[in-house]
């Protein structure tokens, strides 16, 4: 019995991820705007800070993550508007699917979409900023940071959609919880170029935040979508 339940949850999970990605892939405008935004941010930072070789390692990681955050927010924003009238989400919720499965599937979908943009942005960043960013460690850092942003964004996007509290309220709610993720990610990225002895284990902190936030959110999601 338990095994059947788990197998069903697994099928449902991937069905949702696949459905979201397929829909995403067909409306190519979202990718365009996200990619453009990320690129623009990186370029503007380059000019704005008049970067010379000495500055790049200091400002670089921050610029990179701001670019990622902007792209993520754009990506999540379409998430909000898509479910805005709650209609399709309602129909989904009427199926015997665990609400935590819905949440986690949406997070994973968002992470994948944002990761595609990030994968394109990283080599461009390496070129523009002349930093050895393409090391193996960048992958877990980027992934954990993105998971954190997506986890927070997905939960609060759903919360806003269900209370019809958009515009001002959503950023206000998302911001304080995303900041720790961003700080962790930036510091971890900095450490790739200029390792500080005895500094906090940023990657571990990111991972801990992600795990804690995801697990609690998965449980609270049912209360967010309930009427």
């Amino acid at each position: 019995m338990l095994n059947d339940g788990v197998r069903l949850a697994w099928t449902q999970f991937w069905a949702i991820v696949w459905k979201d990605l397929r829909a995403e892939a067909r409306t190519r405008q979202a990718w365009m705007s996200m990619g453009l935004f990320a690129l623009l941010t990186l370029v503007v930072f380059n000019f704005a800070f008049d970067l010379r070789v000495t500055n790049q390692a200091t400002v670089g990681p921050g610029a990179l993550w701001i670019a990622f955050i902007f792209a993520s927010i754009l990506g999540l924003a379409r998430n909000i508007t898509a479910e805005q009238d709650r209609g399709p989400m309602d129909r989904l919720l009427m199926t015997p699917v665990d609400r935590s499965v819905v949440y986690l599937a949406k997070v994973v979908g968002n992470v994948i979409v944002i990761s595609v943009i990030e994968t394109v942005a990283l080599p461009i960043f390496a070129l523009l900023y002349n930093l050895p960013i393409l090391q193996p460690m960048i992958a877990p850092i980027t992934l954990l940071g993105t998971v954190g942003v997506a986890a927070v964004g997905t939960q609060f996007a759903a919360l806003a959609a269900n209370t019809r509290a958009r515009e001002l309220l959503t950023p206000l709610l998302i911001f304080p919880l995303i900041v720790p993720v961003v700080i962790g990610a930036v510091r971890a990225t900095e450490a790739l170029f200029t390792p500080i002895h005895g500094d906090a284990p940023w990657l571990g902190l990111l991972a801990a935040f992600d795990v804690i936030f995801l697990s609690i959110s998965a449980v609270t999601f049912q209360f967010v979508v309930e009427e």
Binding site: L172, P176, L177, P180, I183, F209, I216, T220, F223, E227
Partner: protein
């Protein structure tokens, strides 16, 4: 300051009162004069704190008299942590039991917690200006404190926007639960990172970093502010419940009126 809504002597307390008359008398006295007594005790404690902080406590060697902000700043901070913990507790129990009173409990604690945290930030800023020469620094303690402030301000904004709806209460409860993630990080920030903000002076399960007289003054102040917190919580809670009840009754009357007039009714 007597309770406007007198509850009848039934229920659990009524049962106790019937079985142990002396205790019953005490409970009755408590119900009628409890708040007044609490107000009195709080006032006294505050006066005592003023004495303790400005007269009794010794002047700190390096910082001078400015350091006395400590006796306000620290208790306010500790109590706001407590308040935010109660927001978490109230939110969890509300989602579990769906009892509106727990939701009110959470909301009240969020309001008081935000007020106290605002005072912590202001008092800290003043102290920082005097001691460090800066109104604000972006070290981990201050940053996470500011984040904490934002989270619960967001909580209150959400509540204000959604009004007295079940959906709003549930959404706020979720924010109250998720937002609490930052609070322990804030508390431990001085330990985990090298911050400009001073380290913990009374670490849990560690050795105190203060002379005895300062600890005494701090404890007096803590007691006073805790009493203040209790007073505020009780009063605001009762106010909220009364407002909710009033609205419920008003709508009941309105609906009954519409029913009687047969406006599409029975």
């Amino acid at each position: 300051m007597q309770s406007a809504i007198q509850k009848p002597a039934n229920g659990r307390l009524g049962g106790i009162a019937r079985r142990a008359p002396a205790l019953g008398v005490a409970l009755g006295w408590l119900r009628r004069y409890g708040e007044l007594a609490l107000l009195g005790v709080t006032t006294l404690a505050m006066l005592l704190t003023i004495w303790a902080a400005f007269v009794y406590a010794p002047t700190e060697l390096i910082e001078g008299p400015v350091q006395r902000i400590f006796y306000v700043h620290v208790p306010l901070a500790w109590i706001s942590y407590l308040a935010f913990f109660f927001v978490l507790l109230g939110s969890v129990v509300y989602l579990w039991r769906r009892d509106e009173r727990w939701d009110t409990f959470a909301r009240v604690n969020a309001e008081i917690g935000v007020v106290f945290t605002t005072l912590v930030l202001i008092s800290g800023s003043l102290w920082g200006r005097a001691f460090w020469g800066a109104w604000w620094v972006w070290d981990e303690r201050l940053t996470t404190s500011l984040l904490m402030w934002f989270i619960y301000v967001g909580y209150l904004a959400l509540r204000s926007y959604t009004g007295r709806t079940a959906q709003g209460a549930r959404a706020a409860a979720v924010v109250g639960i998720l937002g609490f993630v930052v609070t322990p990080i804030n508390y431990m920030s001085v330990k985990w990172w090298r911050t400009l903000h001073p380290d913990q002076v009374l670490p849990l399960g560690g050795t105190p970093q203060l002379p005895a007289s300062m600890i005494v003054a701090l404890m007096i102040s803590l007691a006073a502010f805790t009493l203040l917190y209790a007073l505020l919580t009780i009063e605001v809670y009762k106010l909220e419940r009364a407002q909710a009840e009033a609205e419920r009754l008003r709508i009941q009357v309105e609906l009954a009126g519409q029913d009687a007039m047969g406006i599409g009714g029975e």
